[in-house]
């Protein structure tokens, strides 16, 4: 058995995935096994230096630490809610690091790892979940759009952005993020039709984390998601979403094809949401703990760590240094969160329109006068 056939014969560990209605598990692009072995793939390879490998590890470890800290902050009442990326770090770091600076990302609400790769300050993501604003970063400067909470809406935005790139003759692409549940939305299907019809330079990056809140993939699709792309008329590929190298390779290739005028690609990153849907969710109501235990064996960070140690690319000192950096990051996030000032009440009036209306300006003034009437201990 050749190495490459081993790589494509990954047994799918998801309970129910072998239900009779599902066709045989298709090929899964993998370059790093769950045990941390580098393997070849006939179509995809990735050229990464030892230094880049260490950087990928650092990215993975730091975003996980950010995520853990944010979850703790929510539990302590500092955030309204948090949508954890736990388990999806490799999918997000791999996709984010595949992007060129001028490529544009269109995230959902869970792409903290991609935000990290675009240089977005974690506190600018935290401020959304704290209820201070709807995301504190500049989507133009970072090439990372604001989070979109309405499922699937951003896939059309990405497609339109790609149509703009096309008209401008820019050698860039849009990367639309979506979940497995989102693939059921009409708008997502419209986005794929538009992308195909106009051969738009957009890549649909679907993190199939097996659930839409409590609803398992089987309710959204009777075929593996990547196979949907064929029906729209462009390539689809399933990649091991817990393998940062494979995700990097597959996303780079798709973006290169888009840059090159070859139109859209659909990437299904096969992964698992190791935490709750959000901090408001209770997954014990709808899934078995044993499922999580199985997926822990495919942890995206552990496998890279195993590979880096075994191959001598990184040593104890390196891992200790990353750990120390993660500690510092956590401290910075915690301090920045608890010290984050509340916005002034007038903020809600200030950017509703590009050109303020007289009516809203008047309402703002009334609001200020009303608020002022409480100041200085005025009792009503």
């Amino acid at each position: 058995m050749s190495v490459s056939s081993v790589a494509t014969e990954v047994v799918d560990p998801v309970p129910g995935a072998e239900a009779p209605h599902l066709p045989h598990q298709p090929d899964l692009v993998q370059l790093l096994t769950p045990e941390g072995e580098r393997v070849e793939h006939p179509e995809y390879s990735v050229d990464v230096s030892p230094e880049e490998l260490r950087d990928l590890y650092r990215d993975l470890a730091l975003v996980r630490r950010w995520d853990v800290e944010a979850t703790a902050l929510q539990r302590q009442g500092e955030l309204g809610i948090w949508a954890s990326l736990l388990g999806q770090e490799a999918a997000q770091i791999g996709a984010g690091r595949a992007m060129a600076p001028d490529d544009m990302a269109f995230p959902t609400y869970r792409e903290h790892g991609v935000a990290w790769t675009r240089g977005v300050d974690p506190l600018h993501v935290i401020s959304l979940f704290r209820g201070v604003d709807n995301g504190g970063w500049d989507p133009v400067a970072t090439h990372f759009n604001l989070y979109t909470v309405v499922i699937g809406a951003q896939t059309l935005h990405a497609t339109g952005y790609a149509m703009g790139l096309q008209r401008d003759g820019a050698e860039s692409a849009a990367l639309a993020f979506l979940g497995d549940g989102a693939t059921s939305q009409g708008e997502v299907n419209e986005a794929m039709i538009w992308a195909a019809s106009f051969s738009a330079p957009v890549v649909f990056f679907c993190q199939n984390n097996q659930y839409a809140i409590s609803v398992p993939l089987e309710r959204q699709s009777r075929v593996p998601l990547y196979q949907r792309a064929a029906g729209f008329g462009f390539p689809g590929v399933r990649v091991d979403g817990n393998d940062v190298l494979a995700v990097l390779a597959v996303t780079r290739a798709a973006l290169a094809a888009a840059h090159d005028g070859q139109g859209p690609t659909f990437i299904e990153a096969f992964t698992y949401r190791m935490g709750a849907h959000t901090t408001s969710d209770d997954p014990t109501r709808y899934r078995l703990a044993s499922e999580l235990e199985e997926w822990k064996l495919r942890d995206p960070i552990a496998r890279l760590k195993a590979y880096l140690s075994r191959s001598g690319i990184a040593d104890h000192d390196f891992f200790d240094a990353v750990e120390a950096e993660a500690d510092e990051l956590a401290v910075r996030i915690r301090r920045g969160t608890v010290e984050m000032p509340d916005p002034p009440g007038t903020a809600m009036f200030d950017s509703v329109y590009a050109e303020q209306t007289p009516h809203l300006a008047r309402q703002r003034a009334e609001f200020e006068a009303y608020q002022a009437s409480f100041e200085g201990g005025v009792e009503r």
Binding site: G131, D133, V149, V150, S184, Q220
Partner: protein, 325 residues
């Protein structure tokens, strides 16, 4: 037969009873089965009635409402849950162009006994799209009826009445009040669904509210009473059709009317009510009808929602203005 119930549990029991009474009742929505809904309103129903009657749907609101139309044509009574107010819009086309119009289009040959349950309103510290008050869009649409419950009694009986009713109903649930408790008489026959109700008597000002704002209005009336002011509070209950006769009767006595809702003031329910009260009670009015509502901005990030939402002080401020006119 009385029980102490929260609004959420009252809805749960009301749904259960409706499903027992009529095998054609089918519940549809995202995460309503195994999970029991994100607010647990459908908790336990899939286990007891099966997954043909409590359907975890694909993640597609247009699909939920569009297939509800077809099911209704086969004699089913779909009860559709929209997970949060801000996510009804993918279904808006189906609701406004189809659900609302099919009865008229078919000259009454096709009925659309569909209930669209929507947890609505703010105050829970959520992120964007989880705190909206979209009632005016639906009340503006001929063919739809719109009700908003404010307490466990109306939740328990209202959901059953809505399901039994032949027209499509947008059924608004005050999400921040889901955990409010009251005694519910599960044996007593209910009053009508499309009727407003005076929930506190008074002589100086008529204060109108619905859904989550009823509690705020009652608190304001209590605070005003401590200052010697007598406020009559009306729970509108039905937003389309509006039942304003009790309101007119009240305003003719008080001469003053204040309407409060969380929704943005401009073209909200208050605008329609102010127009009708002015038309009908013009000679009795001592002051213009005043509105208290959300500012004309997008619902703000949660750190600002307390300043955005009408509260006791803002209601009393309007009462003062009405009195001082």
């Amino acid at each position: 037969m009385t029980q102490t119930l929260t609004i959420g549990k009252a809805l749960n029991l009301g749904l259960r009873r409706a499903m027992e009474d009529d095998p054609k009742v089918v519940l549809m929505g995202e995460d309503i089965g195994r999970l029991g809904g994100v607010f647990r309103v459908t908790d336990g129903l899939q286990k007891d009635f099966g997954d043909d009657r409590v359907v975890d749907t694909p993640l597609a609101e247009a699909g939920i409402l569009g297939t509800a139309v077809g099911l209704a044509m086969r004699g089913y009574r779909p009860v559709c849950e929209i997970q949060f107010d801000g996510f009804v819009f993918p279904a808006y086309n189906q609701i406004v162009t189809q659900v609302a119009k099919i009865h008229a289009r078919s000259r009454g040959k096709l009925a659309m006994p569909i209930v669209i349950r929507i947890p609505f309103g703010g105050g829970i510290g959520a992120v964007e799209h989880h705190s909206e008050s979209p009632e005016a869009y639906f009340a503006h649409t001929p063919g739809l009826k719109v009700v908003a419950v404010s307490n466990p009694v109306d939740a328990y009986w209202g959901i059953q009445q809505a399901i039994a009713h032949p027209d499509p109903i947008v059924f608004l649930e005050p999400k921040r009040r889901y955990w409010e408790k009251a005694e519910v008489d599960t044996g007593a026959p209910p009053g009508p669904l499309f009727a407003s109700r005076v929930v506190r008597g008074g002589d100086d000002v008529t204060l109108l509210a619905y859904g989550p704002m009823v509690k705020t209005a009652l608190q304001a009336a209590q605070a005003a009473a401590d200052e010697g002011r007598s406020i009559e509070v009306v729970d509108l209950r039905s937003l389309s059709p509006l039942d304003l006769d009790p309101v007119f009767e009240s305003v003719r006595r008080t001469g003053r009317c204040v309407v409060v809702h969380e929704a943005q003031v401009t073209l909200g329910l208050g605008a329609e009510i102010a127009a009708r009260v002015s038309e009908t009670c013009f000679h009795s009015l001592e002051a213009p009808v005043l509105r208290v509502g959300g500012y004309d901005t997008p619902y703000p990030p949660s750190k600002l929602e307390e300043e955005y939402l009408p509260d006791l002080d803002r209601v009393l401020d309007a009462v003062d203005r009405a009195m001082g006119f």
